[in-house]
């Protein structure tokens, strides 16, 4: 049925909750304190950089910085580790 079923029963429940005791949250939990997410990179910037549509998400600004750094450091692939890590971390948090 899926790899996640094995994870639910065998490993920790933080990533996958117990299917017999699924948590339920009220719909507006923490609402006044939660702010709506804001896109840092504008859509015109993303379209100017010709970023693929699937990657125009809330981490787009990290991707734009990474692309610019890769273009500036061109023949050398190891110049942009920090920015790549920042983008990857943002995707991970996503």
């Amino acid at each position: 049925m899926g790899a996640h079923l094995g994870r639910r029963y065998l490993w920790d429940a933080e990533a996958e909750p117990d299917p017999l005791h699924m948590p339920s949250f009220p719909a507006h939990l923490g609402m006044p304190a939660r702010q709506p997410r804001v896109m840092v990179a504008s859509s015109s910037q993303l379209s100017d950089a010709r970023v693929p549509l699937e990657q125009r998400d809330f981490c787009g600004h990290h991707l734009l910085r990474l692309l610019r750094c890769q273009r500036d450091n061109f023949p050398v692939p190891w110049g942009c580790h920090a920015l790549r890590h920042a983008w990857d971390s943002c995707q991970h948090e996503e």
Partner: protein, 605 residues
């Protein structure tokens, strides 16, 4: 500077350079090709093609070249257009690099062949057809390339056409590919009728696409990429010379099916039926091929089944909706698989034509460069960390592990990964290590740079390709980053288990105990009983069905029972009855006259 103009010009220049050895001898009386001129042409094309790839990596420039429009009928025009995007710009240098190495190796391998120039010309035709397929923006142009590579595969597999097995193998390749072509033509027909175009740009959205054309595409990929069901031609294709196996049946032609699915991926994008079919078919193919490779004794057949298994893995990646990852695996696989074939070719020639690994051994000391590169290729194939295969294979298995799809496909793929390790280590131990089982006098020689430089070049590619491609190209779909350590290590653990198992089993062979035949070993040795179960019955059923239709249905039924003879039969009953009315006696005729007159008189009154 207009980068797209430079891009277009250089890509067309690459294709034009490749066609010069074909065109120039036709235009001049004195100019003749030689193997070295063709090799140098391919090398030049490779160097030229590096520039467009660099332009793409630097600036992300893609372009579309529109060459001519065939105005077939009033409202259906077929533009001959080429697309220079990530896939074609990256695959061109890789295909040309591998082809250059293989052609240089073939100058040594086929040196004793009287028609070596024709061989090289065939390889060049194949390469041009493959590159047309890669750059096609239009299913029509892709079909031209598709058929071109099929025909050249037929001609090259049956290169030694005096051998009956080679001819059978070539026929097998052509017939299985033809069955796949039915699927491609089905899809093209649907596209032409529903959307009035064959352009890749104008493919309809997945929600408007019925599943049938997608099944046609998957059938085409099954035929060309030797997935389970249409796979027997790939091991049989090893009858061809080793450079042919290295170029066609490992790096370039067999990936054409997967490449078709990558190109038409927008159609497949969310169609769960098609994606699940790809996933399950790929998983089944990879496990089946890995199982068959476990008991093979011919070194080329082991590598052929390994190719089939990796193609199944690429199909699994398509089924996971990750075409870029499938393309990454195609690119890295091209390097180490071609190198494995070249190493096997060097070993075969050095042992005077011996292909059985049970009659090789201890070659590490005798052929150091070749065996070192063979080891590197095998490690890359297994997905050992930080070689080329690791970047693509490990990521595929991670994505499979963390996806919410079929656990059955996952288990099959993991099992196939461990089997890969098993047969690879088996090949390595039997060929390179252990006791020497070769005849005492062999033409063993790897002094020739035509042998060592292609192999070492491809070894360098096998080590660096994965690292370079992943450094320069940012992934389009985010790879999964959240997973427990056990999931992350699954591929590595499974491979390590396979290595341990193989080493343990190879120790058992040194105690000289006769192995029992179990059903599993018989299944593996006879390639899953697939060939005898399918080849004869399908042909006999088809032919006898055809004979029944022709003789029983058409001849017997239409012409005899329902046609003229049937009518005659019907008439016979009526005429038998009517004959009694004409006995030839005058009294009977007078009686009939009287009867008619009485009836007329009665009707008047």
């Amino acid at each position: 500077m207009d980068l797209s103009l430079t891009l277009n010009t250089l890509m067309l220049l690459t294709l034009a350079t490749l066609s010069t050895p074909i065109l120039f001898p036709l235009l001049s009386n004195n100019l003749k090709n030689t193997p070295s001129t063709i090799t140098n042409t391919v090398k030049t094309s490779f160097l030229i093609s590096l520039v467009p790839m660099t332009i793409y990596i630097y600036s992300g420039t893609e372009s579309l070249i529109f060459l001519w429009e065939w105005k077939y009928i009033m409202n259906f025009k077929i533009p001959i257009s080429l697309k220079m995007d990530f896939y074609s710009l990256t695959f061109f240098p890789i295909a040309l690099f591998v082809s250059w190495s293989i052609l240089q190796f073939a100058t040594w391998y086929m040196a004793s062949d009287p028609y070596i120039t024709k061989f090289f010309t065939y390889l060049l035709f194949f390469l041009i057809a493959m590159l047309i397929l890669i750059t096609a923006n239009n299913l029509f142009v892709l079909f031209i390339g598709w058929e071109g590579v099929g025909i050249m595969s037929f001609l090259l597999i049956s290169w030694w056409h005096g051998r009956a097995e080679a001819n059978t193998a070539a026929l097998q390749a052509v017939l299985y590919n033809r069955v796949g072509d039915i699927g491609l033509i089905l899809c093209m027909a649907w596209l032409a009728s529903a959307t009035n175009t064959w352009e890749i740009q104008q493919l309809p959205s997945p929600s408007q696409t019925p599943t049938l054309p997608l099944l046609g595409l998957i059938l085409a990929a099954t035929g060309k990429s030797a997935q389970f069901g249409l796979h027997p031609w790939l091991p049989a294709a090893m009858e061809g010379p080793t450079p042919v196996s290295a170029l066609l049946h490992s790096s370039t032609m067999v990936v054409a099916g997967v490449f078709l699915l990558i190109r038409t991926h927008p159609l497949l994008n969310n169609n769960q039926t098609a994606l699940s079919l790809c996933l399950c078919l790929g998983a089944l193919s990879t496990l089946f091929a890995a199982t068959c490779a476990l008991t093979q004794n011919d070194i080329k057949k082991i590598i052929a089944f390994s190719t089939s298994s990796q193609l199944g893995l690429m199909m699994v990646t398509i089924g996971l909706n990750l075409p870029e990852l499938a393309f990454l695996h195609i690119s890295t696989h091209a390097f180490f698989k071609a190198m494995l074939f070249l190493c096997s070719g060097s070993i075969i020639h050095s042992l005077n034509g011996e292909q059985d690994i049970r009659k090789m051994g201890g070659l590490q000391k005798m052929l150091p460069t070749t065996t070192a590169c063979l080891t590197i290729g095998n490690l890359a194939l297994m997905g050992i960390p930080f070689l080329a295969g690791f970047y693509s294979k490990d990521q595929i298995i991670e994505c499979l592990n963390t996806s919410y799809l079929n656990t059955w496909a996952l288990i099959l793929t993991l099992l196939a990964t461990s089997f890969t390790a098993v047969y690879t280590i088996r090949m390595t131990t039997l060929v390179q290590t252990g006791f020497v089982r070769i005849p005492p006098l062999t033409p063993m020689n790897e002094n020739n740079p035509a042998v060592t430089s292609p192999i070492t070049r491809l070894a360098l590619g096998s080590i660096l390709a994965g690292f370079l491609i992943t450094s320069y190209i940012t992934p389009v779909k985010t790879p999964p980053t959240t997973m427990p350590l056990s999931i992350k290590m699954t591929a590595l653990v499974v491979t390590a288990l396979g290595i341990a198992l193989a080493l343990e089993i190879s120790k058992m062979t040194q105690t000289l105990i006769l192995t029992k035949q179990t059903p599993f070993s018989n299944f593996s040795t006879s390639l899953g009983y697939f060939n005898p179960l399918t080849h004869r019955p399908s042909m006999t059923n088809l032919l006898s069905g055809g004979q029944n239709i022709a003789s029983h249905l058409i001849d017997l039924s239409w012409y005899k029972m329902l046609g003229p003879e049937g009518l005659a039969h019907l008439q016979r009953a009526a005429s038998k009855t009517a004959t009694t009315l004409h006995p030839g006696l005058t009294k009977a005729y007078l009686g009939s006259f009287a009867l008619s007159i009485i009836i007329i008189l009665m009707s008047m009154y």
